[in-house]
Symmetry: C4
Subunit: 499 residues, 4 copies
Amino acid sequence: MLLLEQYSQLCFSCQLIFFGLSNQLVVSFKEENTVAFKHLFLKGYSGVDEDDYSCSIYTQQDAYDSIFYVINQYKQLKNISLGTLGYEHDGSGLKICKQQYKKGAMLPSNDTLNIDISTETECIVLKPQELASKKAELKLNSSFFNLEFYRLIQVEISFKLKGIALQTIHARELPDCYAFQNTITFNNRAHSGKIKIYFDSDTDIQECKDWHILGSVLQKNSQYILVFDGFVILSCLASLILCTRSIVLALRLQKRFVNFFLEKYKRHVCHADRLEFINGWYVLVIISDVMTIIGSILKMEIKAKNLTSYDVCSILLGTSTLFVWVGVIRYLGYFQTYNVLILTMQASLPKVLRFCCCAGMIYLGYTFCGWIVLGPYHEKFEDLNTVAECLFSLVNGDDMFATFAQIQQKSTLVWVFSRLYLYSFISLFIYMILSLFIALITDSYDTIKKYQQSGFPVTDLHEFLKDCGNVSYRKEQASMPSICCCRRRLSDDNLILIN
Amino acid sequence: MLLLEQYSQLCFSCQLIFFGLSNQLVVSFKEENTVAFKHLFLKGYSGVDEDDYSCSIYTQQDAYDSIFYVINQYKQLKNISLGTLGYEHDGSGLKICKQQYKKGAMLPSNDTLNIDISTETECIVLKPQELASKKAELKLNSSFFNLEFYRLIQVEISFKLKGIALQTIHARELPDCYAFQNTITFNNRAHSGKIKIYFDSDTDIQECKDWHILGSVLQKNSQYILVFDGFVILSCLASLILCTRSIVLALRLQKRFVNFFLEKYKRHVCHADRLEFINGWYVLVIISDVMTIIGSILKMEIKAKNLTSYDVCSILLGTSTLFVWVGVIRYLGYFQTYNVLILTMQASLPKVLRFCCCAGMIYLGYTFCGWIVLGPYHEKFEDLNTVAECLFSLVNGDDMFATFAQIQQKSTLVWVFSRLYLYSFISLFIYMILSLFIALITDSYDTIKKYQQSGFPVTDLHEFLKDCGNVSYRKEQASMPSICCCRRRLSDDNLILIN
Amino acid sequence: MLLLEQYSQLCFSCQLIFFGLSNQLVVSFKEENTVAFKHLFLKGYSGVDEDDYSCSIYTQQDAYDSIFYVINQYKQLKNISLGTLGYEHDGSGLKICKQQYKKGAMLPSNDTLNIDISTETECIVLKPQELASKKAELKLNSSFFNLEFYRLIQVEISFKLKGIALQTIHARELPDCYAFQNTITFNNRAHSGKIKIYFDSDTDIQECKDWHILGSVLQKNSQYILVFDGFVILSCLASLILCTRSIVLALRLQKRFVNFFLEKYKRHVCHADRLEFINGWYVLVIISDVMTIIGSILKMEIKAKNLTSYDVCSILLGTSTLFVWVGVIRYLGYFQTYNVLILTMQASLPKVLRFCCCAGMIYLGYTFCGWIVLGPYHEKFEDLNTVAECLFSLVNGDDMFATFAQIQQKSTLVWVFSRLYLYSFISLFIYMILSLFIALITDSYDTIKKYQQSGFPVTDLHEFLKDCGNVSYRKEQASMPSICCCRRRLSDDNLILIN
Amino acid sequence: MLLLEQYSQLCFSCQLIFFGLSNQLVVSFKEENTVAFKHLFLKGYSGVDEDDYSCSIYTQQDAYDSIFYVINQYKQLKNISLGTLGYEHDGSGLKICKQQYKKGAMLPSNDTLNIDISTETECIVLKPQELASKKAELKLNSSFFNLEFYRLIQVEISFKLKGIALQTIHARELPDCYAFQNTITFNNRAHSGKIKIYFDSDTDIQECKDWHILGSVLQKNSQYILVFDGFVILSCLASLILCTRSIVLALRLQKRFVNFFLEKYKRHVCHADRLEFINGWYVLVIISDVMTIIGSILKMEIKAKNLTSYDVCSILLGTSTLFVWVGVIRYLGYFQTYNVLILTMQASLPKVLRFCCCAGMIYLGYTFCGWIVLGPYHEKFEDLNTVAECLFSLVNGDDMFATFAQIQQKSTLVWVFSRLYLYSFISLFIYMILSLFIALITDSYDTIKKYQQSGFPVTDLHEFLKDCGNVSYRKEQASMPSICCCRRRLSDDNLILIN
């Protein structure tokens, strides 16, 4: 059983690596295409994305230039692009939409504002065929391109391109056909004098409809992978069934033991004793197996181009690998010396979690406080999520000076507050709370070591089990033996599973 | 009571998040406008601010270019800017002031210096209307723009722009009208051949005077927020009153106990025992409540555009949230297991603070020493405050290599000193002082654990209270009962507050 | 002996420093030449290498420009380059090769693909002599330079340049002649619209064939270095022989002891006791000596320009230095107070390693999981090796905020997963596992301290050796004395080696 | 006495801050001038210094351009520069020197080298007056500017400029006259095709010879500073004398005690007991005082423009401040609770140092090994000093990922070695050695705490002193009383010094 499991684990890791590598290929192709698009269609794109958007413009001239640049580059795409790109066959062309408030008037000098805030959207479509013709020129000179920035909300340019990924050929797989739905958004929602340009590329992968490939035989090793996948799923199923059976047996045994104990000693079995019937490792194995099976099925569907939910699949497979490797620790627990460490971690876990609760309260307080007060003055405190990450990094000694230095020195009050805030937070967490963690773990370690030398504290269950051996010759043989047997069966079960 | 408090806390957090979000909107609008202004008015602005100033110039030509660039951009602002900006209605226009030493002569070649160090300030105003006319051209060609850099102290260009923030419309609030008072300063105070250009934008927010908005109903949810605010203030007031009453009662009880003890046992009650009458948590709640009430009132004023002191308000509200969350730990203290940790932190706090004093002395010494010696050679040691932050980061293991590497290798002596300084500081603090913190906390933890197993050391108060139950039947019933009752009342009070 | 060893160690360190310095000279010459080549031959090279490649291009025009730029710069190299470069004498010239799929057709718009995936390679050679002539112009206008990007796999431009490194003259050594085999690769393998340009420079070092140098006497101190090297090798040989003899003697003694013990007490000597016969330090010295000898011989060969395997040599010498310095700790072990620390490290090592196994399992799990799930979205998770390094850095508190911030916010699912993944990993490792390390070491330290005060636990061997002194007068003098003598010899041996 | 010392310490800190601020002014003026010079005279200077040099060039054209750019900018300096600069009065002008090997021939293509390695230096001087004339043009067209790069070693352009720092006027001090000796070096020593341009500016500060300043009264507060300085020196002298006297008395007492002990008990006083006579704090105070006095005198000389050794002065003053602040800890030692911490640090210091020795050996080994092997492939391992700093940062958890990532992937062997090297180093130091530090400190803390509860171990001296009180009535009154008195005097001395 152990052998089987390890073998299947090996298979699983191999399969995972193959999956990861092919996944990487697809993702890097997408990414490189997006970068290439940005360089082709965004004027003045420097290769560095500012925050979430790709670049930003500040003058009206720049706005017009950027828009016409896109149109121009789209027009001569075939002569510019290095990739194997083509326009969408259905001729959907380049679609430019501008969204704006309905006509109004705004005189900032007089604090006068006269506006209809319901929005209107105008669109214009430039087909690739007509771009060279006079018609397109007329369109480009139309009043559509007289932007009234004071009421403009956004301009959205969208177009579809198709491409072919040849590189899969090297892996002896069929080439994929990609459809890129590109959208360039000029966002003027804030009317702050800064228009942010977003570039977004949605990719759709399809099998190429019409292909003739000479010179090599393709799609050989995908059969092997399928066999691999099948084997992994089967072995996971086997392991799943065995573990579930084990847990079910254990639960039954627990029920009988509880009843017997109630009858015999008129006492309820405590919660901790009941939990001991359930082997936590089996639960882990079951979860991991279920994830592997679902993940593998998803993977086969993805390979067959029926699905494209790479993310769900990779999370399922990834998490199950994590559990599989954690599960290996179980075998190490059979050695006395390794056991101390595992027991210590087990024993200290509840204490650590409990302490994390306390620390978490203070942490949450600081998070909120930092967000409210420092948010407007510090990039890292801009949203709650980033604040949490920043504080977490600070606790672990990262990026401290940068955090101190980045606060803008506009308001002295806020500046002083930020100093108090940061010094108190870091000191409290690093000097007191982190130290307490160490104290907790050291204490647990000492306790476990003492237990190992002088014996663990005896619970009802252990006492009963100890009696089980000696006392079974006595008169209470009516019901006891069966439980003792069960107990033996329980441990045998373990043995079966292990060997 | 507990329920009420938790409910009000929830309200408070919601209210805080709303406040934070609207605050963020205002701040981001201001900031984006400032960035846009810098791109519009500063020639060669790269988007990265050097230290405190936006850019610096090194030649006379650059100085003239930069100044005329501002004038030119201001002239054609309407055709350039993407934002909804307008000149100030009162026609204050563009004001250029140059400050310089009164005429003198300077011949560096001869080490000769002949100067009147009293300064004079000349100004020129260019109104937006006249900028296109000949008059402006005359002004631009006047002798005012013949800068004599050897005695020039600074040139200051200031102008006022008005703008309207439309984005609040999305949040169904009224749009605000902004007045930006921009100042561009060419600072030549150091006469070092490098002129630093500062851009400063002061913003004033007002309600737009004259607005007609069609297409949607505004200002709906601000009513809800007002109700929210009112509820928070009320619940905080309630909690404030209850806690204050509790503290006052406790103080009275303490006084009576002290007197009784003095009469009865002829002994003074020790300081620690006296302190135990005052529940620290109540003090925390009181402070937090006062802050919340003041902060919420400020917030309502800000919403009503009567005040603009965002900073004070956010600091008050932020700090009170921090306290509210820290206050939650109190409830965790009722569980035995959580209590160990809270007690440990409580017990180790004085020791840690005391130790911080000692470490602080060495820290201060290093701070001063680093500033004096390394200041001229190392950016991070330039002012006392940065030195302190840099050393604090070093202690926590941040930015170490960068700090080592940044020291300029001009003077070998200083270089060697910096090595000694940094190695000794880091080793001392990380290997000795941080380790001692851990020793302190571990020791406190062990002590508290031992106490919990074998009982806490008994103080006068505890002994008395213990007696209170058993001994109340004895003859000292004259004065004791009332105190015992009080004590019961004290705990009842707690119960009332808790439940 | 100690004196000899320390003296030889000093020699060795000196020799190492000389080697390091001359190595550095060679490497920096190579590196500066490579940088100069990149600036000369790559159009638009900014001095910063992106990932592995030097720059990337996105348009067809850029591709042609870059290729012709190389040819042009090569043509006029003599008039451009600042270095002492010349074309290869054999006139191999500039070789341009393009690799592409055999002719086919690709219409991405129709998802149509018609390709022969067997590749063909075309080459063209431009000799330096003919570059100025009409012939070269014809070649440059040939159809070879009509690149069909949709089937182009890569363009490779390679040429050989020769140079002379004069700077060694300052060190009074002979100048070396270098042959640079430069290759510029335009990689279009991915067909993603982005061509990556790789620059690779292979360097070959030879003695200059034909040199006449006036004005100074060269190659003096290389004799001294030879003597140095010889001395180091000799002393290492001596130390090697002595240590080996010691170990052999100890092994023999061990064998006799085991036999004697078996005969006498009918008991097998335990493994730990057997190991105690072998002095671990001697093993270290032997390894270090062997490495030094091989390394020194390699070094002499490199100096004589017979070999260029700098890397192997430097690894051998470097590792042996490391061991030599670690070996010094042995002498510190003779002092009681230092001994505690060494013993603690020795005692805790197995525990730490054992614990590392457990932690390693979880670590491996996280590594795999992170690679699979986050790989496509995060630069640091792109390959297994980088993931391991990234996680290792995180555990030690480095680069945390950057890791958090770098994850792309494309897929919310993956984003949430990344947060869970990172928070759980960091918390688990820093708060639990690092703390356990401290608990382990603290425990070992306490144990060793207790042992030192109350005596170490007595093993068979120690008991026997203790008896050896007292009991040797008894009747078992038949075989014992010889072992006791041996033991004395063993310790004498140590003394000989030490003194 | 305590009052006096604290008062003088306050003075000292004030004086130090004044010194620091004025120092900063001078340094920032120098630095800004250097930056301005770089922007004025270096073509293509981007504001970022590469490693140690300012920029580097790769083509012959760039080299000529850069040289003529300097000449041109120097010629029209008055019309370009923003600072108050002038040519040196003595008309030393612009001096261009080129250093090259004596004529030879080099044909890299044939591996042929024919060179006279003795160097020759040619110079040309362009005076400011003649730069506009025809004579200068002739010079610029002369054969001097036909550089033969293959034998060129370096071109050095040097010129002297004078400037006046007006900003001190704001501080009501006299303006200083500066002489800048600028040197621009084109370094071709490596002949690697990359010429590095170094800019060096040596500054000389003098009092302006000839000044007439109107409008304000200068140099007022420098008198106060002089008084301040005098007071500090006096109080330091007083403290120095008192402490020295104390130490001398203690040494005498020690001698008498040793003699007495030898006579009386026929025993030698142990080393530790002898040391106890000498108060370590007094030694610290003496060192600090001596440094302060020398530093203050230097400072006064600097103020009087007689000296310019800012560095020595600031190191002396800086270190003495550090000691002064450390000295404050002494007063905290009088409180019981603070004492534990001070004693722990004292007790653990020798252990920590001893352990540092052991760790230092391994550290040194790794440093050497890293330098030799990784030096050529990793920027941070380029020289021994940087390696040490890099490893030190790694131990403290800084810059780990960057260090991992920076290694060039040229040689797989070296790459694998670097991984082994880094992982082993970091694990060893963070998990074992840092943990041992904590174990050491925790142990010391426990020991001290136990001592405080159950009494410190009694040494000869303490026993004797204890007897001193009780036994003085006995018969040994011949010599004892005087010692007991002395002892009283010793403590009285302390009292005098303290109060």
